[in-house]
């Protein structure tokens, strides 16, 4: 049922994603994405999400996000949001920072419920949104939903 719903949803959103926005991996009509962007366009580029291509298990997957930004008071990264496609909790984490950080880069470890796409959305100080997507293969999922 879930898969059917997903397929139906992706069919509906397909014409939107090809017409209205430049990168197809972020749907700006997704309520979760909207809650971060307020409906603004999410552009491809500037953000680099680094995840391994294959993870033996999803319990602890190293992750690094880098944003192309000088991190000055005038021009910096405001926030980075990490969205999972298949985790029961899709908004995995949001990081809010500013010009106090010397580099627009941070690392952490994620828990992933199976092979999926992970999306990072960055909000810059000029109000623009940028994103990157990584397809990761997880051999053993971290949690089972029942």
């Amino acid at each position: 049922m879930k898969r059917r719903r997903f397929l139906a949803l992706s069919l509906i959103s397909l014409p939107f994603s090809t017409a209205g926005q430049p990168n197809a991996h972020v749907s700006t009509i997704d309520p979760l994405v909207r809650s971060f962007t307020g409906g603004k366009d999410v552009l491809p580029g500037k953000v680099t999400l680094v995840l391994p291509r294959i993870a033996d298990n999803g319990h602890s997957v190293p992750m690094t996000v880098t944003v192309d930004s000088p991190m000055t008071p005038a021009e910096h990264v405001r926030a980075v949001h990490l969205i999972s496609e298949k985790n029961p909790v899709r908004d995995m984490a949001s990081f809010y920072f500013g010009p106090h950080l010397a580099r627009a880069e941070f690392s952490s470890r994620l828990r992933l419920n199976g092979s999926q796409r992970v999306v990072a959305i960055a909000e810059l100080s000029d109000g623009s949104f940028w994103s990157d997507m990584v397809q990761i293969e997880v051999r053993e999922a971290a949690c089972t939903e029942d």
């Binding site: 997957v61 809010y96 106090h100 010397a102 580099r103 952490s108 828990r111």
Partner: protein, 106 residues
Amino acid sequence: MALARIQVPPQAKRGEPVEVRIVIQHPMETGFRRDANGVRQRRNAIVALVCRYGGVEVLRAITSPGVAANPTLRFHLRAEKTGDLEFWWIDDDDVEGSAKAQLVVV
């Protein structure tokens, strides 16, 4: 109270980037796991983490069970002046934790 370890270099030059690492001992229970007796473990994950440097908030993270157990974070601060690096976090059980380290700037 959760245990945490903060790693900062012993000294930093003013204006230079300083690598800060923190590891917090926390199960980040997802709420979907069952123990050996089949009893579902209640969700208990860190939901928010704040880092202050010299009293100024420099980073805030809103987290979920999508962050691995014993969460780690690594980032680069701009060394401004010698001061305390304070971390504070709270989990689903409203248990707060904190950790402190001094950043020496020369």
